[in-house]
């Protein structure tokens, strides 16, 4: 059984089953509104896969994924605002929120985002490049553990504050009221469904990339760096390079999730990406199991579902639940839900691969 699950056939079966659920069952069974919600949750799940890689496998507790999520989201939002303005008033016209803020001319850094190709390239390259730069700056100097966690958190705080101060980026209110996504009308339910399919497709691709990274030699090295960084260094590897790859991959995943989040939800504001939302990304990963591949996805979906079901009706109880989940899951069940399965296997005296968290 366990051999089947970890083998090649098991992988294909797993992906096929996930595809069947995401592309077949969900659109058939869920109403348009609920499918939209699920699409939003899938965005969180994509971020969670990246955190699972950086934190679960690499031991880098990144409390600032909101930065990369926000970068992707804002880059996409800029393009959509430009496209909307162009559609309404012809090329070169100012997006509506800028008119309200009294900005008469499009700022220079907005101009290239009129091009869809430039926008997509920017979403794929800018956040990743930023993560690589920051990663080298931090990891080469062997800043790690709690220092890194605090720095990543401060980054999220600084990024949110920076955006609040920028009127030409929507300020406190962020960017919202989009009409077109690369020419597709967002009011049309069919196009909403298309966005869901895109999000689901991205999730599967991201999972495949993460799986490949885990199973490769690189994945072994990453776990080795997590568990004994000095020993890996003594063996002649540069631990910083290994960490930067995982950090950059997590950043890329978050950026792509942010980019698809914007047309699905229709708004991005500093409140979506600051310190608290960034650390909330962690909760799902912790619950699902930071070391496993699919655990973070399940955890993120479960947390998002619970949040949407509970937070409006019982805001107070939901905050208590979040706090207690952090306490109970991390203190008592550091491996998350995924470790329960591993524990039962151990109970049956079957060999298990170690998924010990850092």
């Amino acid at each position: 059984m366990s051999k089947f699950l970890t083998g090649r056939a098991g992988t294909w079966t797993g992906f096929a089953a996930a595809a069947l659920v995401l592309f077949g069952a969900a659109p058939l069974l869920l109403s348009g509104f609920r499918l939209g919600l699920l699409a939003q949750f899938l965005c969180y799940a994509i971020v969670a896969v990246g955190i699972g890689l950086a934190w679960g496998r690499g031991g880098m507790l990144t409390l600032g994924q909101g930065v990369f999520f926000g970068m992707g989201a804002y880059l996409m939002a800029m393009h959509m605002k430009m496209a909307d303005a162009e559609f309404r008033n012809g090329p070169g016209s100012v997006p509506d929120f800028m008119e309200l803020a009294g900005i008469r001319e499009i700022p220079a850094y907005w101009v290239p985002f009129a091009s869809p190709a430039f926008t997509i390239a920017a979403i794929l390259i800018l956040p990743t490049a930023f993560a690589v730069l920051l990663g080298f700056a931090v990891f080469k100097r062997r800043v790690k553990g709690a220092y890194f966690a605090i720095l990543s958190q401060a980054l999220a705080g600084a990024f949110a504050i920076l955006l609040i101060g920028q009127q030409s980026m929507g300020g406190f209110n962020g960017l919202s009221r989009f009409r077109y996504f690369f020419g597709y009308n967002l009011d049309d339910p069919i196009n909403q469904q298309m966005l869901y399919f895109i999000a689901a497709g991205i999730l599967l691709v991201v999972l495949a990339v993460a799986l490949q990274l885990r199973r490769s030699r690189y994945g072994e090295l990453l776990v080795a760096v997590r568990d004994a960084e000095e020993r890996v260094r003594f063996l002649g590897y540069d631990a910083a390079n290994i960490k930067v790859v995982a950090y950059a991959a997590a950043a890329l995943f978050a950026a792509v999730a942010g980019a698809i989040f914007v047309p699905i939800v229709g708004i991005i504001s500093p409140a979506n990406i600051g310190i608290v939302p960034s650390i909330m990304f962690i909760l799902g990963v912790a619950i699902g199991g930071r070391g496993s591949l699919i655990g973070p996805v399940i955890g993120a979906l479960a947390v998002a579902l619970a949040q949407s079901a509970l937070s409006e009706q019982f805001p107070s109880a939901w905050t208590y639940a979040q706090g207690l989940l952090f306490i109970v899951v991390i203190a008592l069940l550091p491996g998350g839900i995924a470790s329960i399965a591993a524990a039962t296997k151990r109970f049956r005296r079957e060999p298990v691969t170690a998924e010990a968290p850092a």
């Binding site: 931090v138 401060a154 504050i161």
Partner: protein
């Protein structure tokens, strides 16, 4: 000249606030290597202690004098409970402690919201702290001077306790080398609990002081926490000296940067400065010399 004095004082004042918030954090982090994200909520508890005391006592001056020691006890007691119930059991898992204490902070924030309500409350500033003092031609608010004095007093007290009391000697021994200290008969558990009590108590005191310059809401502590952490990171873990220098440097930098730019850019500036600074000194300003690899 006026501008310079004004900026220097603003920097010193911002620095002293940062220092008050970071001092306890530096103590507990240095001792146990534990990042306590609930520290901000202990500050918030100090703020509400001042608020409640004033509701009970009435007179602003007397209530401030009562609230300062009470805030210390409230913060300290909360820290002691947290240490005994959770942190002690999460040894050698510093990152997990960070997340667990974040959860504790979330719960405490919600408790404050349920008890005192989400809108901010205000504490009346006592008569003798209202208005300003003329300092080299610049008007300086008395409340800020009071906080500066309080920060100096807190640093002095912590330094004296660490250096000259038996308890302080035990704390320094455990910080220096935990295993060796235990071998010498020091109960590191008792020392941990004591340090946590003092560190969290300082957060409570900081909270009481903060009510003099701002309103109190359930998220008050959170807004100070990240800056306080940056002070600890830049100062070097567990070094009081480092925390003092880093707090004043960051405070001044932020104040000066703000005059030439905006408050939001100043925050970003602080972050960049710290990342660059860590390139030069990855372990912070002052470090304990150890032979460990970490």
């Amino acid at each position: 000249m006026d501008l310079l004095v004004g900026q220097l004082f603003t920097g010193l004042s911002t620095g002293s606030i940062l220092l008050l918030a970071a001092l306890g954090l530096s103590l507990t982090y240095g001792q146990m290597g534990v990042i306590n994200m609930a520290h901000g909520e202990f500050i918030m508890a100090g703020c509400y202690t001042a608020y409640v005391t004033q509701q009970v006592v009435g007179d602003a001056g007397v209530s401030l004098l009562i609230a300062l020691p009470t805030g210390f006890l409230v913060g300290g007691a909360m820290g002691l409970i947290l240490e005994t119930l959770l942190i002690r059991h999460l040894y050698h898992r510093p990152l997990d402690t960070l997340l667990v204490t974040f959860g504790v902070g979330l719960v405490l924030q919600q408790v404050a919201r349920d008890v005192f309500g989400a809108p901010a409350v205000n504490v009346t500033v006592p008569q003798f702290l209202r208005g300003g003092v003329d300092l080299l031609g610049t008007a300086v608010p008395k409340t800020r001077l009071f906080i500066l004095a309080l920060a100096i007093a807190a640093v002095a007290a912590v330094t004296l306790v660490l250096r000259f009391t038996p308890a302080g000697r035990r704390i320094r021994a455990v910080v220096g080398n935990r295993d060796l200290a235990e071998t010498a008969g020091i109960s590191s558990r008792a020392v941990d609990a004591g340090t946590f009590f003092i560190g969290s108590g300082l957060a409570g005191v900081a909270g009481v002081a903060l009510t003099l310059i701002g309103a109190t809401s359930p998220t008050t502590g959170q807004s100070y926490l990240v800056d306080a952490f940056l002070v600890v990171v830049a100062g070097g873990m567990g070094r009081i000296k480092g925390a003092v220098v880093a707090a004043i440097a960051l405070g001044t930098f932020q104040a000066v940067f703000e005059t030439y730019s905006t408050a939001s850019l100043a925050k970003v500036g602080v972050f960049v400065v710290i990342v660059v600074f860590l390139q030069l000194r990855p372990q912070g300003l002052f470090t304990l010399r150890t032979r460990s690899l970490a």
